[in-house]
């Protein structure tokens, strides 16, 4: 009972306290709790990194010689170790800002490259949408996408007669400002509704993701 009761109590207590502090702008209580929470969140991030490391270290150690699948794990582990080591040396002022260097040299290009791959993936999925299903909605989806792309490309283009481009612009603006904004609003409002009810269930202790 204690095992279930205590977390539940903590969740409800701190949740309601925070809520009150936010509602009535009692920043004293609020800040304290928020600081605790953010500290825990930071700890959680560390735990996550540890988990990642341990998982891949195990996989690497699982079957030697390292190669094939666990080669990747090995690479991952090594890269983690290096970065951590550099962080440590930075901390001890043995090296200077070496982590930033790693970030700029390794992480940044990798992330940017991966992100730029998105173009291909999106194009591919868009092309194959109609192959997967030919429904009104999917056609609507594609037509809109193409229309937006074309208008983005051609609105300012000197190739188009100004009349056409202005027409295009008006069309795009209507889609963007009226339809799309409404759609996004609808989605956001819906999410807000869902978030409200779910949060309240959490605060009432009806949902207990933290304990069984």
């Amino acid at each position: 009972m204690f095992r279930r009761g205590l977390p539940l109590t903590i969740a409800i207590l701190f949740g309601v306290l925070t809520l009150i502090s936010l509602l009535f702008a009692i920043s004293e209580i609020g800040n304290l709790i928020l600081e605790w929470a953010s500290f825990l969140a930071a700890i959680a991030l560390l735990l996550g990194a540890i988990n990642l490391f341990s998982v891949h270290a195990q996989r690497m150690a699982a079957n030697r010689p390292v190669g094939g699948q666990n080669l990747y794990s090995a690479v991952l582990v090594i890269s983690m170790v290096i970065v951590f080591g550099l962080g440590l040396t930075d901390l001890l002022d043995i090296t200077n800002n070496s982590m930033a260097l790693v970030f700029a040299w390794v992480q940044a290009p990798l992330e940017a490259a991966l992100a730029s791959l998105l173009a291909f993936f999106l194009l591919l999925s868009g092309i194959r949408l109609l192959q997967r299903q030919r429904t009104v909605s999917s056609i609507l989806f594609l037509v809109t996408a193409v229309l937006i792309l074309l208008s983005n490309a051609l609105i300012v283009s000197p190739l188009l007669p100004s009349g056409v481009s202005t027409l295009l612009q008006q069309l795009r603006d209507f889609i963007q400002n009226i339809i799309v904004t409404s759609g996004v609003r609808g989605i956001l409002l819906g999410i807000a509704l869902g978030a409200i009810t779910l949060s309240i269930r959490l605060l009432l202790g009806l949902e207990r993701p933290y304990t069984k």
């Binding site: 928020l34 929470a37 825990l40 992480q107 909605s137 759609g183 819906g190 978030a195």
Partner: protein, 215 residues
């Protein structure tokens, strides 16, 4: 020289990633694993150094002040969280999670109400910037309502166990679904545009930088 090294490293890594275009291959996976490892380690090290250690440093200033003593609570919870690795004490870690969940729920709740719900509704009353004209506003309102109603969950079942939406909604929902698909189409176009920009940026960047390296 440093820049050149960094540029070359980056270029090679970029090529590794782009090798996926030829097909799913070990090189690409290797690059991804490097990325995952580096980013996680970087984030963890950064948090450790910039977020966690400073807290303790702050506490050390005057360890026995009430404020510092209060900080024992999160520290204890953090220890419990760590202890959760040992399954015997796993349930203790639940308390830390409970704190996070409770606080997070409260924050999200307030944010959803004051941050999204109210403003987004009131904007139809004419609040905010670049408010469209009344007619456009009405159209937008109608479309928004349609979209909102599309997500209606509860209904009835007919004898065949088939879900039946409240009859008065059915008209709206057709529109709502269309609006949704148009929205997603536009968003898709936006994402595609952005990714195209990123692609051009990568290519132009390396093109220009590498051409600079050439004598």
């Amino acid at each position: 020289m440093n820049d050149t090294t960094g540029l070359l490293i980056g270029f090679v890594l970029t090529l590794l990633i782009y090798s996926y275009l030829i097909g799913d291959n070990p090189i690409y996976r290797l690059a991804v694993h490097i990325l995952v490892g580096v980013s996680a380690a970087y984030a963890a090290a950064y948090v450790l150094r910039q977020v966690i250690l400073p807290v303790f440093a702050q506490l050390m200033l005057n360890p026995f002040s009430l404020e510092s003593l209060l900080w024992l609570v999160p520290v204890l919870l953090a220890l419990l969280l760590i202890l959760q690795r040992l399954s015997r004490f796993a349930w203790l870690g639940d308390n830390a999670l409970a704190l996070l969940v409770g606080v997070g729920a409260a924050v999200a709740l307030m944010g959803a109400i004051t941050g999204t719900l109210l403003p987004q509704v009131l904007t139809f009353g004419g609040q905010g910037n670049a408010v469209p004209g009344p007619i456009e506003g009405l159209i937008a309102a109608a479309l928004t309502v349609c979209t909102l109603l599309t997500f209606h969950f509860t209904g009835k079942r007919n004898e065949e166990g088939e879900w039946i939406r409240p009859f008065w909604q059915r008209g709206f929902v057709q529109v709502g679904q269309a609006v949704l698909m148009i929205t997603f189409g536009a968003l898709f176009a936006g994402v595609l545009s952005t990714s195209l920009v990123l692609l051009t940026e990568r290519i132009s960047y390396y093109f220009t930088q590498l051409t600079l390296l050439l004598p």
